[in-house]
Subunit: 342 residues, 2 copies
């Protein structure tokens, strides 16, 4: 089925297009006035994450206000740990804080996993129908999930961290239990992502936000096998993989099945395509801080980036847009991309 | 002049040695009982940084207690911003907070720089004599400084940050003023490091802790020229450069004069030597979280790391030792290195 604007799916399916599609990580967020108003109307971020009616509104706002080529279902990667039994709160200016992080091996046995978690995630799946209705066939809808290590890191650490030293300690001290927990998280991500696709998501993006914390050997041992299993389970749905900071593991990504790789702003395109092949579809790579430049500067960096990446490119920032970014600058980036002709 | 244990200087001077020298970033810190006692005896971290008598004690403790091959003068990279006129406090569990960060271009004109800052840094230089006396010819003494971008980042941001978006915004919005400030910081680092050497430091390590925040182009434009100037000004003193996270800028480091490069735990040795030459002296690279493993595991990772790096290796962790690390495990790492024979 093709959407009115099918550009994102066309690129992911290897078709020729006349310009890169564009969407923006965190496009449904603080930079937009509708989002801020809705966020202010509920007591907490988590209340918003659990309201299918509001999710559909904030998810679709960027299509109307910014004119991006795809919507991404508003949610949080931490809904999975919560459904497994590790509850969190988002504390303003601090980030997620968990009441009952995993502290010992026996804590793992108390967790739910896989399909058993789906009932507790019904609010996510319910939001998809309302969102699709609101999109009304105009654009594809991306769904996302955190990758196993990133969720594991939060579940052990109990909060965000500059080092995730507690979570990394667990890998060194309890390798067997670590594999067990990674397996359970993986089962849950697969159940969750498949259900998202069944309900109408057209693309799945897997965020490994803390991939950059591990050594090459650890990523190979504790992450790649689980990511591989998730990507294989999603065959038939276009997959975007965002292994943030895991540059030294890129050679091993050849073994993984994904259509596009999302790339931070530190990573040269040549480096990625040198390892993964010249036809690798690239997403992202533009410095989110470039949005702080003038509109004239943004025009230049956008055109330079498209020229640098060439075809097989999904335009995006190399990270979620920073919350204090001027939406008019983001809109200018989007308009510049849409005016481009290969 | 050779020290009783001259191993570090021998490696930095390209001599053959029978095993890698070892020291540990943050060896003079929380992992040691003497440090914790002294830290508890003063009202704040900054009081300790400004007490030459105490600096010499905490600097030398790791030689006696851990048996490392070199001492590193206890201090903080933020003494330079303070001497320039941007004052800070270290807030427990939060890190540095600045009262008067740079908020506009005109703030830069109010700063001191270069030799004008030395009088305000006399407590650092005074501490060197006392420290050398206490070392009594046994081992070399490393002095350190933050690199220009890392100091710039704190001076603009006003605190630590996950993104340093404010500082990066300044680069995009005020490129000319950014160059001016980078130049002033550079002048100050040069004056400071040269004075440290004059007072008795044998080696200078330059920490670019936030190098990983910038694009390759930004690092080339806003950092490399200044780092080059500092390293050239220090010719004749062995220089160790630690550009944390700046992996994609490694090819441009060929233009820089340093003896050793300090490497985080994500970066494969092959990658560094592939770009900088097979004879590049490597420091670091061991995951600091590996200290959480058992002693038997530490024996294995230490021997594996020495075998991997080969000669021209200064053993160290890929980052400062984590404060909750068991000193007995660190000692075991050190003993294992000292038992090694090439």
């Amino acid at each position: 089925m093709a959407y009115d604007n099918n550009l994102l799916l066309d690129v992911l399916n290897g078709k020729e297009v006349s310009r890169p599609p564009i969407w923006v990580m965190r496009q449904a967020g603080r930079i937009l006035p509708g989002y801020r108003e809705i966020r202010a109307s509920v007591p907490s971020f988590k209340h918003l994450v659990k309201r299918p009616d509001l999710i559909s509104i904030v998810t679709v706002e960027p299509l109307d206000v910014l004119g991006v080529d795809a919507a991404i279902l508003f949610s949080d990667i931490l809904v999975i740990p919560e459904a497994m039994g590790v509850d969190y709160e988002i504390v303003e200016k601090k980030g997620p804080v968990f009441d009952n992080p995993i502290q010992q091996v026996s804590d793992i046995d108390k967790l739910k996993s896989g399909d058993d978690c789906l009932a507790d995630l019904s609010y996510v799946f319910e939001s998809i129908g309302a969102t699709k209705t609101r999109i009304a066939g105009r654009n594809p809808l991306i769904g996302f999930a955190g990758a196993p290590w990133t969720l594991f890191a939060y579940m052990i650490e109990g909060s965000g961290s500059k080092t995730f030293a507690k979570a990394r300690r667990f890998l060194y001290e309890e390798p067997e239990a670590s594999h067990k927990l990674m397996g359970m998280i993986t089962d849950t991500i697969i159940s969750y992502a498949k259900e998202k696709v069944r309900c109408g998501c057209d693309v799945i993006q897997l965020f490994d936000s803390w991939a950059g914390m591990l050594t090459v050997n650890q990523y190979e041992t504790f992450c790649i096998p689980y990511i591989k299993r998730i990507l294989e389970a999603l065959e038939g749905t276009p997959r975007i993989f965002f292994p943030k900071g895991a540059w030294s593991s890129v050679p091993s990504f050849k073994a993984l099945d994904f259509e596009a790789i999302s790339v931070d702003w530190k990573t040269p395109i040549d480096y990625i395509r040198g390892h993964l092949g010249g036809d690798q579809i690239i997403q992202g790579n533009l410095d989110p801080a470039a949005m702080y430049g003038s509109k004239a500067d943004i025009t230049t960096v956008v055109n330079d980036k498209i020229a640098e990446v060439g075809k097989r490119h999904i335009f995006n920032l190399g990270h979620g847009v920073y919350p204090d970014t001027d939406a008019a600058h983001v809109k200018h980036m989007i308009d510049t991309v849409k005016a481009y002709k290969y």
